[in-house]
């Protein structure tokens, strides 16, 4: 949007005034009801599950991370929502409109995984086309394209053909194309993939900015620290089924914390049998490190260490990362190693380290 003096500001200012209040408030940004997708091989007639019975609601203004291992059904879900796949059964609604109607995508911005573009176009031409296809008038599309090209750091080379873009530049252009028409809902498939740390930070900032502007965001990512930072809630999908939906705080803080207790004395204390599954000792150059896997035992372990002459120097709680929890969740569904293997293996690995 141009300033009163006609100069171009640093960043685009979203203008959502044309959207009637009634339609904005009435329905959730995304609603999926028993959404399923099965693929049938035409030769062998073998049926493969892409997604089964997904029921999910995403209220407006929320940022949701959509997590799961490769092949779990994340991209299938996103493609179903954006009309690239046809559901086998069930339905879904974007901002109150059924995904069966192309008009449901009018206020949607979508970034596919590893986006591909017309290499004979330049960045400016592509963004103008993207804006116009999403309903912007020619003048508005040109203005927004110029603004977003600058916003994603490509404004200094508007005439550069896309065939000369690097992977990171294409990813940023894809993000600009998803945002050029000021969508109310963003669906991003691996938006940080292929980006360097600076690019990742920029994308993170963009998502946060959209969140503050009230845009609803659903994105899949394998970069879990970013998910923890950006999301209000996460949904975990495993083997084509929704496994869990919870807030990041519920998942991360709800789990038991690991606590590391550093001691100056290297005297090998004998750990009481009742704690042997939860507490173990690691040798360190200047003393010993006791690792407590159940934070509830801390009130008992600390007095025991003090009374045993271990000379406690520090107590450091380590909260579980989303990654650990996702792996544990996936382990339970035999996506990777079984849950038991992960849990029993972790201390061993730490000891050997």
């Amino acid at each position: 949007m141009q300033t009163p003096t006609g100069s171009v500001p640093d960043r685009p200012v979203p203008d959502r005034s044309p959207i009637p209040l009634g339609s904005r408030d009435a329905a959730p940004a995304i609603r999926a009801k028993a959404l399923s997708k099965f693929y049938r091989n035409p030769w062998t007639l073998k049926v493969t599950r892409g997604l089964e019975d997904l029921s999910l609601e995403l209220p407006r203004g929320e940022v949701m991370g959509y997590l799961g291992p490769n092949g779990a059904g994340k991209t299938t879900t996103l493609k179903l929502l954006t009309g690239l796949l046809k559901p086998t059964s069930g339905g879904a609604w974007l901002l109150g409109e059924s995904i069966e109607h192309p008009s449901s995508r009018r206020r949607l911005g979508f970034l596919p995984e590893q986006p591909y573009f017309y290499d004979y176009l330049n960045g400016m031409e592509y963004l103008v086309m993207a804006g116009r296809l999403s309903g912007l008038q020619s003048h508005d599309a040109h203005r927004q394209a110029k603004l977003w090209l600058g916003r994603v750091g490509l404004g200094d080379r508007p005439a550069l053909k896309l065939r000369k873009y690097s992977k990171g530049m294409l990813q940023r252009l894809g993000l600009a194309a998803a945002l050029v028409h000021r969508p109310e809902l963003l669906i991003l498939d691996e938006p940080m993939s292929g980006l360097d740390p600076f690019g990742r930070r920029d994308v993170r900032d963009l998502i946060l900015e959209q969140k503050h502007l009230g845009v609803t965001v659903l994105f899949s990512s394998h970069i879990l620290p970013d998910v923890e930072l950006l999301c209000d809630r996460v949904a975990i999908v495993l083997e084509g089924r929704l496994s869990r939906v919870a807030t990041v705080a519920e998942i991360v803080h709800g789990a038991s914390q690991r606590i590391e207790i550093s001691c100056a004395s290297d005297a090998a204390l004998e750990i009481p049998p009742a704690w042997r599954r939860a507490l173990y000792r690691e040798e360190r150059p200047q003393g010993a490190l006791y690792v407590l896997e159940q934070d509830a035992l801390l009130d008992e372990v600390l007095p025991w260490l003090a009374s045993s002459g271990a000379q406690v120097r520090s107590v450091v709680p380590h909260r579980n990362s989303l990654e650990t929890l996702l792996l544990a969740e996936a382990g339970g569904k035999s996506q990777v190693a079984p849950r038991d293997a992960i849990e029993s293996e972790a201390p061993e690995q730490r000891r050997s380290a």
């Binding site: 690239l84 796949l85 449901s104 949607l108 979508f110 004979y120 176009l121």
Partner: protein, 254 residues
Amino acid sequence: MSPLLIAQNTYREATRDRVMAGMVTAGIVLLVMTQIASPLALGEGTRLTVDLGLSGISMIGLLAVLLVGTSLVAKELERRTIYNLLSRPISRSAYLVGKWAGLTAALWTVAAALGLALWITLCLRGAGGHVLSIVEATYLAGLELSVITALAVLFSSLSTPVLSALYTLGIFVVGQWSYDLRELAAKFPAPLSAVMRMAADMAPNLPLFNMRSLASGGSPTTGLHLSLATGYALVYIACVLALATAAFESRDFK
């Protein structure tokens, strides 16, 4: 609005493609060759120029359809550029119509450029009075290419570029000889004859778009012929694109 935008982009893609520039160059080279060969035509140099010039428009157009048109949709699927389009508020029918319209516009541009080159050549030969028949013949060639492009879009939305090219070429051949095929069918036993007749009926009636023999004599065609050809082409294209949309509507883009 969206079919127009898709068409605009497809036109831009086709005209920036070197294949199209190569096609126009090849057509002009063909015209130059006819001038070199015309002394051998025993006084029929103008007829030879018109005949080869108009044949060139059809053949070069067909080659462009086979090279560009048959991969029109398949290439978008392969390169996944289609994700960026169909995740926007665009229906699949609008997408296909846009793709067809864009390539058709590019082929009309090629046909017009070659028609103009032919007329200039005729003017240089002192036969500029053929202008009306050249314009009409070029128009009919454009209609023929529009029909073939619709078929290419249909096959491209269902199959690989190579198979699409084979199917399109096959239907072009059947369409060119549809009258002969019907006559030939009468000489075969019933089941085969029925299949041959059905193929001739379903393939486009391409001889309807051919007025080369008239144009080479400098004679224009009738308004009725032009109207019939236009109406037939529009109906045939609409049917083919409707079929393509029906097939494309349920397609998944994995």
